[in-house]
Amino acid sequence: MEKKLPWRKNWKRCLTEIMPKKLGKYIEEGVIYHAFSDQSGVTFYSTVSNEVFVAAVSENNLRAAFHLKNEMTVDVSNIVSALVKQGFIKTEWH
């Protein structure tokens, strides 16, 4: 089971490596992901639904942006599931 790491330690890695990797399947198929170079946040765009999500980076903002009740793990799978739950991504669209 993957260990929970505090956001602050792995921030840059999380934004620039882990997120894109975890969202890989969707990114290949129509979700565009961008992590801002000043680490102020991330943004997703669905080419199918034409929706943009922007999340600013403090842990609270990110949780609020994705309506997450629990803490996030480096796994970021809960971000993906939050996006799916909100209808931003649907596997059959991409």
Binding site: V48, K90, E92, W93
Partner: protein, 372 residues
Amino acid sequence: MMSSNSLPITEEAIVRALQDPNSCIGKCDAWWFSFIKILRFERLLSLFAFRCEELDLLVTFPMVVQGHLKNALIMAQRQADHLKYEVSLLSDSIKTVTPQCLYLKGAAYCLANMTVSKGRLFSDIDVLVPKECLDKIEKSLLFKGWLSKPINDYDERYYREWAHEIPPLVQSRRGTVVDIHHNLVPPISGKAPDIEAFLSQTMHVNGVTVLKPHAMLLHSCIHLIFNETFKQAHRDLYDISSIIKDYGNSTFWDEVIRLAKETGFYKELFLGCRYSSKKLGYELPPKLISDVPYTSAKLMLLDLVMLKALSPHHPLCKVPGRGVANFLAWARGHWCKMPLMLLIYHLSIKSGRALAQSILGKHFFDAEGTPK
């Protein structure tokens, strides 16, 4: 509304340009200026752009023309990309009420990835559902922000009581429009097909249900001939031509003729194919041509009216004798859709409005159709 120095273009020239875009190389600026306006009005600009792109012709045209064609291609592509998403959301809502959810016309062509959809713009998404589910579906969509387009009381009654549709619904945030049908022509005309006959001719493709190509052809012909206003019917001739070109083998024709006769729409099939083939210059199979459902006198009269009504309607495309032909075709369209007494009532209301509008200007009535 024409400027005094605008060049008129014949219908033949427009058709030739679309069938053979190479013939446009070297055309003068005045010709292009008129041509682009006509195509845009007739909703054929993106089709022309698509055909030119396939033939790598864009660079041979004037810069201004290249610009218009590129814009048209971007718009058409964007619509196609978006459709998958819209249909997915629509289907989700409809399926909470009924599994029967059949997509029609432009949306169907696009979802089935047919050639006829390439470069084709569509304004609404058409979907067919069981009649008894209409209310529930309308309510289910209301929750998702789909509202009736604002129309006047009279037209609203026309839609709900007499015609075959609830009024179009608009998604308030995204602006998409959906037309929910329960039949293919209004039941009140006594001419509605047994819908089961069509429902047995469907296919499942890319996660949605659409008609099989031969049934699509028949529906397109019915739609063309049972038209209320022929203002943008010219484009539909290209739909018919494209479906025939891609699918028209012997089995196809047997099936479409059988379906047409079974549902009582052979005349519409005959006429739709006849006018498309005459206008766009291609041949129909003997089994269709030889089976003529009219006397030669009646056919001549129909041709006289319909061939003019189905020409492009942009003022720069002059068609002699059009005014009368349009009225007759319009009257015929209405006659097909409802009994005589209702038609007279409908016409008298509509023509009263038309009279007021021509004197006081189109906007004497505000958006709701109430006089100011």
